[in-house]
């Protein structure tokens, strides 16, 4: 069932301006913290200073007595969570135990931020500290302090502590047989440290919840429908009674797909009888939201002298914070996905520790697995003196290849991406002293998911599109462009608006690289329904059979020439809408299956200062199959942004925990994301191999760009220094230690 139909596009592919642009360059756009309500209170959250502690008692009386304090809540103010949401609730407000440094234990609402802050100091929490564990290697070892008892699923192999809560494996063929066929083999252990999504806008919301269980929430989120559903599940509310409006969002990258402060603000509002605004500080963002996994990964590979990979094995331990998650699945599946392999086996282990509950971060699980796999492949290429690009081309998965995680691939653009490497000036440029060039390929699944869109023809012929997915990277523009293309009209005749949960059906968040694909497809389907409705009405108006009405170049044409009817434009059709049956509109709700996989290939040049170990990225190129780039600027923007996030993870970004289990660097000074002076320009090449599952061939592009960079940078640094680095980030001390050890 191919949705794709090849045709010449008029609107798609143009570099058109986003409809939200002027508001964003003038400061008028309203983000999470940019709104207020009459009589509003300010909320603040008290957080555990301990990595692991039993909460013996919480005395809120002094805080409640402070002038200006209107409510204090603890877990006692929350009902039992709906089934499946127990961890979400516990992460928002600790129950019997605080499970990590920064875990919320109480919250206040007061007439000013100052009073709220002061009140936090008056809350007396009696803790009994418990043994803690924050590092993945220590956590999996038998005898480690156990973070959550009774969570181990039945398939976990023996020999690990009960912090290893989930196990998966994938693959086909026989690794031992593949190793036996190899001319060279390699076995390596890799480690990566946790990073944070690092969105510049801290979590913020404004909540009203009345005694009758009806409320409103304004919040910066990637998915206000999920925020609604989770808040309701945690607070015992009904979805229809909580209307959630998504503000403009100041970045999310996966980290704003769940609740942290929202149920707390709602609970404070209900208890105080006032609207409550809650805004996180940067320190809270880093201590209590987001972070990604840290990993311990073992890889074994076999290769023939001519570069055929005969066996590929990976064993991945993913540390995912204090609650059971399934992140290792998404390392084990994509690790070797770019390759056509006869013998492949991956194993994933989910590990809980006394760290914040991890949230998704752009292709969650894939970048680290790709780092391990692509590093080992690159090192074998060096050992066998093989061209790393030729080896990747030789082994590349194609249409019809059985993937390392099971399914057989449909058409995709990996080969084209690899071929494009050859044609870049970058790949062929000479390298200087202390410089190295790294190459890596990466994969992400992409998906569609539940999607609702409404579209209306206005009486003046313009088109209104209403959807429910917060726009982070320009999706309102892309959706308007697709609708304009479908109608054959100009982009500026269409306006797409993100609406609240009270005005639209269910939507998955803006995640999974799904919005341009899924919301775009739903908007196209609405447009087609409207055209069909117009055809029905004009057939009656013109007194012809409906098949005599045809849509061409933005107008309805009568195919029966004998009628002598002039084509009608949308303004003309809109003007008679009420005469032909009333307002014209369409709604499309669908589970939007049919997303296509997305491959990317990155090239990175680094220079390493042999005296200090400091790494500079000299040049960077990101190549990716976008299916069809609706607005190329925004596709390039995804490639560039994802690449730089990956570079940061590879070189600087790291959660540092002390012996006491407390986060040592909860600020942008010490948790250092890339700044402009760290980076070169990021060159991009967009490949377009249409996704058969989308009318215009669109593939999601948002996540794949963060998959290859860790390995591309790692390979570049390792080749520059002549020493293999198997631990990210490659901060100057680690790089220097490698240089000195090699001397």
């Amino acid at each position: 069932m191919s949705e794709y139909q090849a045709k010449e596009f008029k609107v798609l592919g143009q570099r058109l301006q986003r409809p939200d642009g002027i508001d964003k360059v003038t400061g008028r756009a309203k983000y999470g913290a940019d709104t207020e309500a009459a009589g509003m209170l300010h909320g603040k959250i008290l957080r555990s200073p301990h990595a692991h502690a039993r909460i013996l008692s919480i005395d809120t009386s002094a805080a409640e007595a402070l002038n200006g304090v209107k409510a204090v809540v603890t877990r006692a103010d929350f009902p039992t969570a709906a089934k499946g949401y127990e961890d979400v609730q516990d992460n928002c407000m600790a129950g019997e135990r605080a499970l990590y440094d920064g875990h919320a234990v109480a919250a206040v609402a007061a007439t000013s931020k100052r009073i709220a802050k002061q009140a936090l100091k008056l809350i007396k929490v009696e803790y009994e500290t418990l043994p803690h564990v924050t590092e993945v290697e220590a956590a999996i070892t038998v005898g480690a302090p156990i973070v959550q008892a009774g969570q181990v699923s039945k398939r976990v192999p023996e020999g690990y502590s009960d912090n290893v809560v989930r196990y998966v494996s994938f693959g086909h063929g026989d690794i031992d047989a593949g190793i036996a066929q190899a001319d060279a083999t390699i076995e390596r252990t890799y480690r990566t440290e946790a990073s944070h999504q690092g969105y510049i806008e801290p979590h913020a919301c404004l909540a009203t919840l009345n005694e009758d269980g009806r409320g409103d929430l304004w919040v910066c989120t990637q998915g206000h429908f999920w925020i609604r559903d989770m808040s309701c599940a945690v607070l015992g509310l009904e979805s229809a009674n909580l209307r959630v409006t998504a503000s403009e969002i100041g970045g999310g990258f996966g980290g704003k797909t769940t609740v942290f402060i929202e149920p707390v603000a709602l609970a404070l509002s209900k208890k105080s009888g006032h609207a409550v605004k809650l805004v996180m500080t940067r320190e809270e963002v880093l201590r209590a939201t987001g972070p990604t996994i840290s990993t311990l990964m073992h890889v074994k590979l076999g290769m023939t002298n001519d570069g055929r990979i005969t066996a590929a094995y990976a064993k991945l331990f993913y540390q995912s914070g204090a609650y059971k998650q399934g992140c290792a699945d998404f390392g084990a599946m994509p690790a070797f996905a770019p390759y056509d392999l006869e013998n492949v086996h991956t194993e994933g282990f989910d590990v809980v520790t006394n760290r914040p509950r991890t949230a998704s971060y752009r292709a969650p699980g894939a970048p680290t697995a790709c780092y391990a796999a692509e590093s080992a492949i690159d090192e074998l290429c060096q050992q066998l003196n093989l061209d790393p690009l030729a080896v990747r081309l030789k082994n590349a998965a194609k249409e019809g290849t059985k993937s390392s995680y099971g399914p057989t691939y449909e058409d995709h653009g990996l080969i084209q991406c690899l071929e494009a490497v050859k044609d870049t000036e970058h790949w062929n440029a000479p390298l200087g002293a202390n410089q190295g060039r790294g190459l890596a390929a990466g994969f992400w699944f992409n998906f569609g998911g539940e999607t609702s869109v409404s579209t209306f023809l206005n009486t003046d012929g313009s088109i209104t599109v209403t959807e429910g997915n917060p726009d982070i990277g320009g999706s309102r523009a892309s959706i308007s462009m697709m609708v304009a293309e479908e109608f054959g009209i100009n982009y500026d005749q269409v306006r797409t608006t993100v609406t609240d949960t009270g005005s639209m059906g269910q939507n998955e968040p803006t995640h999974g690289s799904r919005v341009t694909f899924a919301v775009g497809m739903a908007a196209i389907k609405c447009s087609r329904s409207i055209k069909a409705e117009i055809a029905q009405r004009l057939a009656k108006t013109w007194d012809v059979a409906v098949d005599q009405v045809s849509w061409q170049d933005g107008k309805a044409h009568c195919l029966d020439a004998s009628k002598g009817i002039e084509p009608m434009s949308l303004p003309e059709i809109g003007a008679i809408a009420n005469n032909t049956g009333g307002p014209i509109g369409a709604h499309h709700g669908s589970n939007m299956e049919g997303a296509g996989v997305a491959f990317g290939v990155h090239i990175c040049d680094t220079e390493v200062d042999p005296e200090t170990g400091y790494v500079t990225v000299q040049r960077y190129t990101a190549i990716q199959d976008a299916g069809k780039a609706i607005q190329p600027d925004y596709v390039e923007g995804q490639l560039q942004g994802g690449a730089v996030q990956g570079i940061g993870w590879a070189l600087n970004e790291e959660y540092v925990y002390g012996e006491d289990g407390r986060l040592q660097n909860p600020g942008f000074l010490d948790y250092r994301i890339p700044v402009a002076s760290d980076m070169p320009m990021i060159d991009t090449v967009i490949i377009e191999v249409p996704n058969p599952g989308h009318p215009f061939g669109v593939r999601g592009v948002g996540e794949t760009p963060i998959v290859p960079p860790l390995a591309a940078v790692g390979n570049a640094v390792s080749r520059a220094v002549g020493v293999r680095y198997n631990h990210l980030p490659m901060s100057p001390p680690r790089v220097l230690a490698g240089i000195q050890a090699a001397k």
């Binding site: 099971g406 699944f445 589970n591 997303a595």
Partner: protein, 81 residues
């Protein structure tokens, strides 16, 4: 009969089989008949799975057709960032 591939660790839930034959015509029938034949997989299915049908990952759509020659692979539920 559709040929359902069971991958890696999921095999433990299917009596160690790497594939099973089931008479199903769409995803809904698959999700009903799999646990009926192999009760151990019920928990996994309840936790959420994605099913790849002819190379496309299907998260939810019960009525996605499964033909006798379809390639069907049961996977953990795909997430995203």
């Amino acid at each position: 009969m559709a040929h359902i591939q069971i991958f890696g660790s999921l095999r433990d839930l299917f009596a160690g089989e790497d594939s099973v034959e089931l008479d199903v015509k769409n995803l809904r029938e698959l999700l009903l008949k799999l646990p009926a034949a192999y009760p151990d997989c019920q928990e996994e299915i309840d936790e959420g799975v994605s099913v790849s049908i002819d190379g496309k990952i299907i998260n939810d759509d019960w009525f996605t057709p499964i033909r006798p020659d379809s390639e069907v692979v049961v996977l953990p539920r795909i997430v995203g960032g």
